[in-house]
Symmetry: C2
DNA sequence: GGGACTCATGTAATGTTATAACAGCCGCGG
DNA sequence: CCGCGGCTGTTATAACATTACATGAGTCCC
C-alpha cells in the first residue's frame, strides 16, 4: 500500500478515482451520494490536504450549496462513517481517504512542517495494538493512530 | 506495566504518589510546580478520568484559584509538556499520567461505555509505527495512539 | 537600592470547532 | 392522499481554545 501524500502524482486521477470509488460503493450499499456529499468529497480530494469543517463550509458557501455548519458536518459525518474520508483528531480536520477500496485501518503521518497528511497501512500497528489491549482485556472497536513528524521532503530541507 | 484505570486500587495512593513524583521531577529539572499547577494535577488524579479544560476550570473557580480559560489551559500545557498529564485528542480532554516515572509513549484505551481511560504500554505499538513510517521515509517525533472500545468491566455487562 | 529581566498569573475579549433543535422537502409504499 | 424515513435549511448555542495586554514576584547585576 502506497502512503501517498508525499510523492508527486497525477492529481486529476485522485479526484475522479476517489469519486468513482465512492459512487460505486454507494450504489452497492444503497447509500445516497447526494450533491453536497459528493461535492465535499471532491473538495477534499481536490485540495488533497487536511481541511477544517469551516474551510469546507467556505467552499460550499461560495458555490451556493449551504452556508451553515451543520451542512458541512453532516456531509463529513457521512463520508467518515462510510470510509470515504477520515478525521484527523490531532488537527480537528478531515482528509479524503487515499484507499477507498474496502475496509482499512489507516495510520496517518502528519508533517509538522508542510502540514501534509499521508495515509499509510496500519495493519502491523493494529496488530500490536490488539496485543497490547488484549493484555488488559480491552476490546478495541476503532482506533486513532496519528504520527507527527517530518515528511521525506521536509527532512531534506532540515538536514542541511 | 499495569494499564490501570480498569481495576480497583487504593485511590489515595494515586493522588499522593502522582503529586510526589511530579514534585520530585520538578525539583530535579528546575521546574516550578506552582499552586495552580499542583492543584490541577491533584484534580486530575482525584477524579481519575478524562476531564475537559472547562471541567477543571470549574474546580479552580470554586476554590478561588482562577476563573478564566487561560488559567486552566496554561496549567494543563505545563503538565502535558512535562509528562505529568496527557491530552486525549479523541475526547478533547486531559488525564493525569498513570506512569509519571520517566519518558514513555503511552497508548490509551478509551471505554465507550463508562468513559474510563487506561494508559497502557505503547512500546510494541511505537515499534510498529516506526517501521511503518520508515517505509515512506517519515521521521516520527510524537504520536497519538488511542483505542476506542469496551473495557473489561463493561464487556461483562454486554456479554450477557 | 534601582533597573532589567524572566517566569507565572489575572483578565477581557475573541476565535475556532461542533451540536441541538426544529421546520420543510421529497420520494416511496400503503 | 397520507405517513414515514432520509436529507437539507436555518437559528441558536454549546464546547473548546487562544490572543493580547496588564500585573506581580523573584533573580541577577551593578
Ligand atoms: Zn482511508
Ligand atoms: Zn513536510
Ligand atoms: Zn503517562
Ligand atoms: Zn467501561
Amino acid at each position: 500500500m502506497d502512503p501517498l501524500g508525499f510523492s508527486p502524482h497525477n492529481h486529476d486521477h485522485c479526484i475522479s478515482d476517489g469519486v468513482a470509488a465512492a459512487d460505486a460503493q454507494c450504489r452497492a450499499k444503497g447509500l445516497q451520494l447526494t450533491p453536497v456529499r459528493r461535492r465535499v468529497l471532491e473538495i477534499l480530494l481536490q485540495e488533497h490536504r487536511a481541511m477544517g469543517a469551516y474551510d469546507i463550509l467556505d467552499h460550499l458557501r461560495n458555490e451556493g450549496l449551504g452556508s451553515q455548519p451543520p451542512v458541512a458536518y453532516r456531509a463529513l459525518d457521512f463520508l467518515v462513517k462510510h470510509g470515504f474520508a477520515h478525521k484527523i483528531e490531532r488537527l480537528n480536520a478531515f482528509v479524503a481517504c487515499a484507499h477507498p477500496e474496502g475496509d482499512h485501518a489507516p495510520v496517518f503521518l502528519i508533517c509538522r512542517d508542510c502540514n501534509s497528511v499521508a495515509e499509510s497501512d496500519g495493519r502491523t500497528v493494529r496488530k500490536a495494538m490488539a496485543d497490547t489491549a488484549s493484555q488488559s482485556g480491552f476490546a478495541i472497536d476503532r482506533s486513532v493512530v496519528e504520527a507527527l513528524g517530518l515528511c521525506p521532503n521536509c527532512r531534506e530541507g532540515h538536514a542541511e
